[in-house]
Amino acid sequence: MQWAAFVGFVLTAVGSCSASVDAEQAQAWALGDGIVTQEEYHTAVDRFIACMRDAGFESTKPIVSPIDGATLLYDVIPGGDPAAWNETIDRCNTHHVSRIEPAYVESQDHVMVAPLRQAVAGCVTSKGFKLAGEERNATDFVAAAGGQARPVMECVVEMARELFPELPSDVKVLYETR
């Protein structure tokens, strides 16, 4: 019994490791030279969307996030059996974007578009935080708020949805805590 449990543990561990290796190998075409370009990232997202479409799931058209100028934002429209959906979205993600997206997005200089920056500044100020007036991105606003991310994120998302009604349902915001 103990032996069976050990074998099960080893198989699980190997399975987990192979998933990581698979992702790295599958995305090596963009990761191989150590730099992911915008074109490669956009191609990776297109391939992810095509992978989902091939399985019968539609997506909205990706748009560049006005919050950081780098992340592509889009929705994949849920449907069908949840178990089949979960298998598909995990497989497509692992094969196409899971490593390329952070490699590209985190290497970029994040800049919030000007109208959103102004709106977020107003919102954050109205919550009692003092700004230097030079904040360019979510990281700067969080720093100005003394590291309090949530009130800043609420401003960022609320203002972004107000100014850009075409934003998808699923919105990702990255920030560094200094």
Binding site: A19, P78, E101, E106, V173, T177
Partner: protein, 118 residues
């Protein structure tokens, strides 16, 4: 045993209240916000519903943990959205109720770490 109108109304009210208390509320599964400790460091994990959008957040608090963390949503029908990964950034992710209600925020401290639900 016969109950009067007031007594019967009281029983109905009490029963209704008890049944409502048993129903899962929209926010009841979310919001188990906490710091998760590992031997190499700690992360703050949180999620919630602000009346308009569901949100989930992961912050590095301390330590020198290697590997990426990742963030996702589990919907009330068991469906997961696409898991997103972060090498060095903290992350906030939000989703409107367009495609259903969110049951949990999902957080991983590394690719193969156990999932933490909030």
């Amino acid at each position: 045993m016969k109950l009067g109108i007031r007594a019967r109304a009281g029983v109905i009210l009490a029963t209704t209240g008890f049944m409502i208390a048993l129903l899962p509320s929209q926010a009841s599964a979310l919001g188990d916000n906490r710091i998760v400790y590992r031997s190499c460091g700690s992360n703050y994990v949180a999620s919630g519903f602000n009346g308009t959008n569901y949100w989930a957040q992961t912050d590095r608090v301390s330590g020198t943990c290697a590997g990426r963390f990742s963030l996702n949503f589990e919907m009330s029908d068991g469906r997961w959205m696409a898991r997103t990964y972060y090498n060095r950034y903290s992350a906030y992710r939000t989703i409107s109720p367009t495609f259903g209600n969110v049951a949990y925020g999902l957080h991983w401290g590394c690719d193969n770490c156990n999932v933490t639900k909030t």
